[in-house]
């Protein structure tokens, strides 16, 4: 059985032929108390969020088992969205994020790196930083992070951003959230101006 290992910022992902193991290993750089709080709570929350997201029609891998700091899930075979990104996919991401937000889920790390395109569907494969929060502010930050990741990685980010917005407008409160995203951008600049030192 072959295995590929990916060392992410937060967890180790072991990819086998038909399933994926996500293990939150101990991080030596942080103290034991904090380490154990983060690993346990993130694993538990992630498993729950994945199942709620699926119920709300967002393509995610099926969870096979959760054990301590380890999640076993189905392997989605397809193309990394990071590599094949286009306006159509960004629009689809917008539609899926609309569903997540409608269910009160904040993804926490919406970037093309965390998605796989398979058989016409865009799978969200990593909810490691997700949490439940129904406030406009949390949703605004969620969308802001996606826009920032586009800016950092694609020269045609502006077009991809517009496509996302088109898809995201299927969420009833989308306009409020998008307005907040603009405020968050402004806030960043204001803070920078005031607090520079």
């Amino acid at each position: 059985m072959s295995v590929q290992i990916y060392l992410g910022g937060e967890a180790e992902v072991r990819i086998y032929d038909n399933f994926v193991e996500k293990i939150r290993r101990k991080k030596r750089y942080r103290i034991g108390e904090l380490d154990s709080i983060l690993r346990k709570s993130r694993t538990k929350t992630e498993a729950r969020i994945i199942s709620v997201a699926r119920k709300n029609g967002v393509p995610t891998p099926i969870i096979l088992d959760v054990e301590g700091e380890k999640i076993l899930m189905e392997r989605i075979k397809g193309d990394p969205v990071k590599k094949i990104m286009n306006a159509e996919i960004s629009k689809e991401i917008g539609r899926m994020v609309a569903r997540l937000h409608n269910a009160g889920i904040i993804h926490g790390d919406i970037t093309p790196m965390n998605m796989i395109f398979s058989e016409g569907k865009t799978y969200f494969i990593d909810f490691g930083l997700g949490f439940f929060d129904d406030r406009i502010e949390a949703k605004g930050v969620d969308v802001h992070i996606y826009f920032e990741s586009l800016k950092a990685s694609y020269d045609d980010w502006s077009e991809l951003k517009d496509a996302f917005i088109e898809g995201y407008l299927t969420y009833p409160k989308a306009k409020d959230v998008l307005k907040r995203v603009e405020e968050i951008e402004e806030r960043g600049r204001y803070v920078e101006r005031r607090m520079k030192s």
């Binding site: 990916y6 060392l7 992410g8 910022g9 937060e10 991080k27 030596r28 750089y29 942080r30 103290i31 108390e33 904090l34 709080i37 983060l38 926490g108 790390d109 919406i110 970037t111 790196m113 930083l129 930050v141 969620d142 992070i145 920032e148 990741s149 800016k151 950092a152 990685s153 968050i184 806030r187 960043g188 600049r189 803070v191 920078e192 101006r193 607090m195 520079k196 030192s197």
Partner: protein, 323 residues
């Protein structure tokens, strides 16, 4: 070739002369607020009163006619402070008949870090009072992959320090207290993708102190939480960009616990960790002089008419044509 650089974006006022290899002379006189945080107008007043004598002291070590280019930090920073620096730089450039180079303060930290370490194409963690960013080169520009959603880590440390009755600069005092901290109190750990936030943590830590928790334990809990966040996002950026080099720059980079955590993280993923010498960490004239030199050698010059200050100058705005 010799470049003279002036730094004065916030509290630090520093003038230096460098050549391609080293610092030839550096003179600094930081503004220290009498109480509370930095007051931009007072800081500017301090800068205007002291910049002349700092330049004179540099000229006593490096003759003015030996200088090939005048560099100054054009932004980001506090407008009143930046204007003093830009004015002094313009006067020198005109008087000595030398080209002027306005440089981006954040980029200067980063390039000076590469200058004084072996880092080649690293992910950079830039941590200072107002700035906390994860930066990496992508093509002809540096990009910010993650940053604080509210205040910089240095300001967060200062706010907590002031609340506990410690004077500016708070960072080193918190570091010292944290060394004797023993008990960890949980604080809001806020990481969103590669972004992060500190203001909620500051409030929660201030409440711990108000509730009678020892200063040492507050400082310890705060550092452990905040630095774990910074280490986590650095690791995420390295994983995302498939990079095995991390460079730490900025004033808060002098903190030895932060260096230790980043070092361990890099060791565990077989990556190399770089931090320039301590005198290069905080805001200083040498980094400005060095970036000015680098840019001048690659064809950059700032016309007087384009030398107005840029308080919101972002690192992404600079086109980078050097290796």
């Amino acid at each position: 070739m010799i470049s003279l650089g002036i730094e004065g974006t916030a509290w630090s006022l520093s003038v230096a002369a460098v050549n391609e290899d080293d610092i030839l002379a550096i003179e600094s006189k930081p503004y220290v607020p009498k109480e509370g945080g930095i007051h931009p107008r007072e800081a500017a007043q301090h800068h205007s009163e002291n910049i002349g004598s700092l330049i004179k002291r540099i000229f006593s070590k490096v003759r003015p006619e030996e200088i090939d280019v005048i560099s100054f930090s054009q932004g980001p920073g506090m407008g009143p402070c930046l204007r003093i620096v830009a004015t002094a730089a313009r006067v020198l450039a005109l008087k000595l008949e030398r080209p002027l180079i306005g440089v981006n303060h954040c980029l200067a930290h980063l390039e000076a870090g590469r200058w004084k370490t072996e880092a080649k194409n690293p992910v950079t963690l830039y941590v200072s009072g107002g700035n906390s960013q994860i930066i990496a080169r992508r093509g002809g520009r540096y990009r910010v992959f993650g940053e604080t959603l509210d205040i910089g880590i240095g300001n967060a440390l200062d706010k907590l320090a002031r609340h506990m009755g410690l004077k500016h600069p708070g960072g080193p005092k918190i570091e010292k207290l944290a060394r004797s901290g023993k008990k960890y109190y949980e604080l809001p750990y806020v990481v969103k993708g590669m972004d992060f936030s500190f203001s909620g943590m500051v409030t929660a830590a201030q409440r711990l102190f108000d509730g009678g928790v020892e200063r040492e334990d507050v400082a310890y809990s705060f550092q452990e939480t905040a630095f774990a966040m910074l280490t986590e996002v650095s690791e995420r950026a390295m994983a995302y960009l498939d990079t095995d080099e991390l460079l730490l720059v900025g004033g808060v980079g002098a903190n030895s616990r932060l260096q230790e955590m980043l070092g361990i993280m890099c060791e565990d993923r077989n990556a190399r960790f770089y931090a320039p010498p301590k005198q290069m960490m905080g805001d200083n004239g040498a980094m400005i002089a060095y970036l000015g030199l680098l840019m001048y050698k690659h064809g950059y010059v700032t016309k007087i008419s384009e030398s107005t200050v840029k308080p919101d100058f972002r690192i992404e705005e600079v086109e980078v044509n050097w290796e």
